[in-house]
């Protein structure tokens, strides 16, 4: 039986082991977060000098700039385009390659590929492919669309780029999940005369649904925080139509040096992130053990 002093040493050991990650978390997560939340209620000059209490002025300023609500709209629109597209395509790819076949490895390799390409180079490739009316894409599709120069299509191109960026990891997660399904069940179903489609719908998809929701959450998180591809591909243009929340944040914080907007947006994004994490956590309670 453990005595009190035993427990103390046990706990002490645990704390010592926790220390490094705790220090890092405090330094790089908690401290900046607390600073941002506090900063969102203060008036701070560009030079970083605190000039006084701002009350809700930073929040009022933020919401009176029409570009901020617009950036929320663009982000939601982006999620609406990207999430179904990404989920459908990665799921389709995983379904098509879920059985190991002789040449299937080639397809798998192709589907993994996007993971090996860095975000910025892929964005640059997209920019070149969609540039102007004489773009490669227009030649291939035989269209005459200024993809990156008209508001609707620019966001669509961004959604496609997003799919490329997330495809590899989502595909691997889904594929491994498919392949971990107990073969006995599949064989039993086959003996009972279940066809490919029936097995897929009634057995395999329900089996991987937890992993599917994980990939959807991952993709939703990426979509909510998308900024680097915007920076490279469209710079928020044309006509500020592809400015997402995080790109807006980048503009205000880094371009304009607007400290008020900087800490206010950080605070708001954190609140959104906490809500999403709570949603994941509640799912996790039910499902995590099934993965």
């Amino acid at each position: 039986m453990l005595t009190l002093s035993d427990m103390r040493t046990e706990n002490g050991k645990a704390y010592v082991l926790l220390m490094p990650s705790l220090i890092l978390a405090v330094m790089f997560s908690f401290y900046p977060l607390v600073k941002s939340v506090a900063g969102s209620f203060l008036t701070i000059s560009q030079q970083g000098e605190v000039r006084g209490f701002a009350g809700l002025m930073n929040y009022i300023s933020l919401f009176s700039d029409p570009a901020f609500p617009a950036s929320i709209r663009h982000t939601l629109l982006f999620i609406l385009m990207f999430l179904p597209l990404n989920t459908a395509l990665t799921l389709l790819a995983a379904i098509l390659t879920r059985r190991k076949t002789r040449w299937g490895g080639i397809a798998e390799y192709i589907f993994f590929m996007p993971m090996a390409v860095s975000l910025s180079s892929l964005s640059l490739i997209f920019r070149e492919m969609f540039r102007g009316r004489v773009s490669v894409i227009n030649q291939i599709l035989d269209t005459d669309i200024a993809w990156l120069d008209s508001p609707g299509t620019a966001l669509l191109v961004l959604a496609f780029l997003g799919v490329f960026l997330d495809f590899g990891i989502d595909y691997i997660l889904l594929l491994s999940s498919f392949r971990r399904i107990d073969r006995n069940i599949l064989e039993a179903a086959a003996l009972d005369g279940a066809g490919n489609l029936r097995t897929l719908i009634s057995i395999e998809l329900p089996e991987i649904r937890t992993m599917l929701s994980v990939t959807v959450f991952l993709a939703a998180k990426d979509a909510l925080l998308i900024s680097a591809p915007v920076m490279i591909l469209t710079q928020g243009g044309p006509f500020r139509s592809t400015e997402t929340i995080m790109y807006y944040y980048y503009l205000e914080a880094f371009r304009s040096g607007n400290r008020g907007a900087e800490s206010t947006i950080t605070t708001l994004i954190t609140i959104i992130a906490v809500i999403i994490m709570a949603m994941i956590a509640s799912r996790r309670k039910n499902d995590w053990k099934n993965i």
Binding site: P20, Q46, S61, D65, F239, R255
Partner: protein
Amino acid sequence: MKRIILPVLLVLALASLAAGGNREENTITVWHQFTGVHSQVFDSILDSFNETTGKELGVTVEGVYQGAANDVLTKVKAAAGSSGLPDIAAMDATSCLDMKMSDYLVTADDAGIDTSVLLPAAVRAFTSERGLLAVPFCCSSLILYYNKTVFDEAGVTPPRTIDEFTAIADKVGEKDGDGNVVRYAFAGTPTTYELGAFIGAQKGLSYMVDGKNGHFGLPRKVLIESDGTFRNFLEHWKAFYDTGYVLNTSDQMNEFASGRAAAMLNSSDSIPSVERLTGGRFEIGTAFVPMTDEEATGGVNIGGSALFLFTSSDAVNAFIEYLLSDECQRMWAESTGYLPASASVYEDPGFLSFLEENPLYRTAVDQTLASNPEVTGIWMPSGYQIYHTYQSEIREVTENGKDIDQAVSDMAAFIQLQLDDYNRQNSTAQ
């Protein structure tokens, strides 16, 4: 314990690396935004300095490309917090307000740069209540690029005013049998830079914001609505757009170079790029920026970049002096399309005969000399946001029939919002 020490050491090592930058004493670092021809010429200037004056003084100048002009500003502001500032950075008018407010800038006056050799308009362009903020070096101005082949065939000369352009739009533009435009008369959506001229030139001199466009003190009030200048511009521009031969785009360079647009506005330092992209498919012409109306006689402002100093030393001054020498300025101007910053170059026989032989380069020089030097670039906060909001409003008016008065008041309100927010956070005099 060992397990803790290792990560802690690792973190410390990383931190010291990040803080990095043991700058060598005898190296002058210049951050710039030059690409293509400009970067080649700039590098050759640095090389020749390093081999001559630099060698005598024992200093080496090193140029570092840091992205587009506003990227340089972003990086300078980030570096200022970590003592990683370069000695010199080339930045444009959008940086001036932030630089003026900063405590790490060494103004050209404080550095003791001899400014008497400079073109007065170039000095005026970068002067604030703190004196001359930066050394004008790559000055440029907005000019009209036109497809001379098309204009000559149509028997028209470049338009003097927007209304004149409206009148000839269907002559230089072209539609196919189905009524689709195959060549626009003009490509581009005006924004801050273009409006610097379209608004600045009105009534001889107009400002976008108070404090003489934010050069003196912090800008507090937007003037484009109360002065009626933006409205006046929009009325003329809408009429021009309604000819059906104007294309709203931010990619005017490619539209023009591919021959799909007969004219565009662009900076004079784009001449080498325009020539390269056009590849001799047609003859290029350059002309003065069309005036908003007959009373808009102010001309254009000097745009482009200046060299902002962050350290003060004899070596930096010697380098600046070298850059401002007539020889260097001429070479720079003749190969890039930038305007010489030194006044005496404008009387240099060699430069004058170069302009005689290269009429493309001549326009910017003539136009600048004919302009009111008080017409200056706009120094205001949130330059990027205002730039794009201008384009959005102009597009709304031209394409979607937004009421001009509404667009003017929305635009003015947007700029005012940016000014108020900036003043609230940064102004010392509340």
